[in-house]
């Protein structure tokens, strides 16, 4: 029994609970009934990678942290353990919708945690609204968040929109342009999928407005694995900045290709995946100087503590973009419950208006959105640090030009 990992124990807890066996969780510490929390995330299918890196480990880590501390604190000071019910949505929205209906109407769980990804959270939003559950969408990037918050008043959008990330990057590059460290030419490639399209659409006018010229602007299909042609054209374009609005396979592939062909632009920016813990290995131990979407305040003690706990529990550090946001959203939930209890309406109001103390600092939502976010980060001394927005507390100065591979 001592050899059994906590992760394993948690899995078993989830399994037993979902197979309908009544399980008196934590009988030793809490006499009260457990709080049931359900979620449906992708264990299999196309979304399983993203959910497996950002969503599932943080849900499991948080449940472990809360239960080890004796459970969720209620407004009257009593503590109740968390019991988890988990379903696999098989990366299909139809299955996701049904799983949430099941959690709400059959299992009658106290709270539901959102699925991974933009599309999944949108498919789930009408159901969260219909059943009245607050939805803390921590892995959903959408420019339409204000409209969604109006449409579903218990939905909370915590990861910004494509527009934010594109203009955040342009701001950082504009600083280098003004300082004379790079020329005004940019080579940009984007993946022909939701994220890439949103970002390139916002980036084109933003770059031009800041005085940049897009000398190379190409879109590549999802699933592309050979980037040699793209990169050599970018290299011969004369641009000092290389920007890729890419997904993890593309981000990794372009990094390896750029290294093998000795392509060393002053700015090397990749999209999703650049902030993954596996990135330094992909970059052959030379990630320093690479920029990517996201970032954390790597010097904050709360973040350092979170990285340590995550590493100890999951076996690897979290990604430096949405993981910390996901964990912070759960801390918000925990603190809101302590203040107002499990009533869904009161809980939603508290989440919308309250101030919370989390690993990413003090958080207060504006119009149901988290706006105080990092848009650009850079690998420096082996850690992925936030560089933009530059005036946000904890930002470090970007290193431009990037050291050669």
């Amino acid at each position: 029994m001592t050899r059994m990992t906590r992760r394993g124990a948690l899995r078993i807890l989830a399994l037993t609970a979902s197979s309908g066996l009544a399980l008196a969780a934590g009988t030793a510490t809490a006499q009260e009934d457990p709080v049931t929390i359900g979620y449906a995330v992708a264990r299999t299918g196309a979304n399983a990678t993203g959910a497996g890196i950002t969503t599932i480990p943080n849900y499991e880590l948080w449940v472990r942290d809360v239960n080890e501390a004796g459970g969720l604190t209620m407004p009257d000071g009593s503590q109740r353990m968390i019991e988890v019910i988990e379903y696999d949505d098989r990366s299909s929205n139809e299955d996701l919708v049904r799983a949430i209906e099941r959690l709400a109407s059959q299992d009658e769980v106290d709270l539901i945690l959102p699925p991974w990804g933009t599309g999944s959270n949108l498919a789930a939003a009408p159901l969260f609204a219909r059943f009245g559950y607050p939805q803390l969408a921590a892995t959903s990037v959408t420019d339409m968040a204000p409209q969604f918050a109006d449409r579903w008043d218990r939905s909370f959008w915590m990861l910004g929109g494509g527009h934010d990330y594109a203009s955040g990057l342009v701001d950082v590059l504009k600083g280098a342009l003004d300082a004379g460290t790079i020329n005004n030419q940019v080579a940009v490639v984007s993946v022909a999928d939701g994220f890439g399209i949103d970002l390139i659409k916002a980036a084109r006018p933003a770059f031009e407005e800041a005085g940049f010229e897009l000398v190379y602007d190409e879109t590549y299909p999802l699933g592309t694995s050979d980037f040699a042609a793209i990169l050599s054209e970018a290299q011969s374009s004369g641009a000092d900045s290389f920007v890729a609005f890419s997904y993890p396979p593309g981000s990794f592939g372009m990094t390896k290709t750029a290294q093998s062909m000795g392509y060393n632009p002053a700015v090397f920016y990749v999209g999703v995946g650049g902030a993954f813990p596996v990135y330094p290995d992909i970059a052959n131990g030379q990630p320093d100087g690479v920029m990517a979407v996201g970032g954390v305040n790597a010097d904050s003690p709360e973040i350092q503590d979170y990285f340590e706990r995550h590493t100890e529990f999951v076996g690897q550090p979290p990604d430096s973009w949405a993981s910390a946001i996901t964990y912070a959203s759960l801390e918000m939930l925990e603190q809101a419950i302590e203040r107002v209890g499990l009533d869904k309406e009161a809980l939603s109001e508290e989440l919308a208006s309250g101030t919370f103390d989390t690993i990413i600092g003090e958080v207060q939502l504006e119009n149901n959105q988290l706006r105080d976010l990092w848009w650009v980060g850079q690998w420096q001394d082996g850690a992925f640090r936030a560089v933009g927005p530059a005036d946000k507390d904890g930002a470090v100065a970007p290193v431009i030009p990037k050291p050669d591979w």
């Binding site: 979902s18 098989r90 929205n93 022909a192 399209i197």
Partner: protein, 304 residues
């Protein structure tokens, strides 16, 4: 008379059920009826002709996409009509150009078709509209979706029964048994296959259109999920693709099994699914219904 009354009574009972089940129960019923529709519509063409089509999701996804594009422009019934027309037109073009292919070539082509449609839509959205991902904000309740889908399933099975007794049904069965014989007995091969393919495709497209409001957000990678095509085939084969209610009998238990697996074995569900597929193909190649018939025949022989 009872041949007609019994199914009608069953239909009335099924239509009244949503009043007595939870939201999850209703969700299950929508899923089950959707797959009954898909498997039956698939069998309408493939069951008779034995052309294994993996294009189910090409039409199903197209239906969903039509709703996503038009849901804010046209009234809902018109959207459904347009979806049916587009599905029919697509099937006509595809059918005319490919129904000459036989065997494995046809299977591969239909699989490629789903990918082709998906890439075409992606290309169009990226280069022309500059956005990927569309929203469906239609105020249709889960019950509404269930009733529409139930009606479509009933129409599909009714249509199959009706065709079965027409010359078209006979022609299709002959084509399935031996195309050369069919051609020599004066059957217009191309026309026969084309009619069945278009009918089947229109129903698949409508099924996608009806169920899509449940997804709210639609993008090519979500709606053109190849698993749908594979599930449809295996469901129809399990029940017996050339029987009237075979596909329905295969779809309901398999759908419920998958649901149970995903809830109880979220990590290992795909392994169970693979094993189940292998089991079906090896043990019941002609479907459960044919298996039951064989068993009965053996007993009769033993008795005699």
């Amino acid at each position: 008379m009872t041949r007609l009354l019994l199914p009608l009574a069953g239909l009335v009972v099924l239509a009244a059920l949503p009043g007595f089940v939870s939201e999850y129960g209703l969700g299950l019923m929508i899923g089950a009826v959707t797959y009954v529709t898909l498997a039956s519509a698939w069998a309408l063409f493939s069951g008779y002709t034995r052309y294994i089509s993996l294009a189910t999701v090409a039409f199903y996804g197209t239906g969903a996409y039509v709703v996503a594009v038009l849901n804010e422009v046209l009234p809902y019934p018109l959207v459904l009509l347009v979806a049916a027309l587009i599905g029919g037109a697509m099937a006509l073009v595809v059918g005319l150009s490919t129904l000459r292919l036989a065997g494995v070539y046809f299977v591969i082509f239909t699989f490629g078709l789903s990918e082709l449609v998906r890439q075409l839509i992606t290309w169009y959205e990226v280069n022309v509209t500059g956005t990927l991902g569309r929203y469906i904000f239609l105020d249709i309740s889960a019950r509404g979706i269930y009733w529409q889908m139930l009606a479509l399933a009933a129409v599909t099975i009714g249509l199959t029964a009706w065709i079965h007794r027409r010359p078209l049904g006979l022609a299709l069965r002959v084509v399935g048994d031996d195309e050369t014989v069919a051609a020599h007995s004066g059957i217009n091969l191309a026309r026969t296959k084309l009619i069945a393919f278009v009918l089947s495709s229109v129903i698949l497209t409508l099924a996608g259109a009806i169920v899509s409001p449940r997804w709210v957000y639609v993008e090519p990678s979500i709606v053109f999920n190849p698993t749908v095509s594979f599930l449809t085939v295996i469901m129809a084969l399990l029940g017996g693709a050339n029987r009237l209610v075979g596909p329905a009998l295969g779809a309901v238990p398999l759908f419920l099994t998958f649901e149970w697996l995903s809830a109880n074995f979220p990590d290992t569900y795909s392994i169970f699914m693979g094993l189940l597929f292998i089991g079906v193909v090896f043990a019941l190649p002609e479907g459960v219904l044919a298996g039951v018939d064989r068993l009965r025949a053996r007993k009769l022989r033993a008795a005699a």
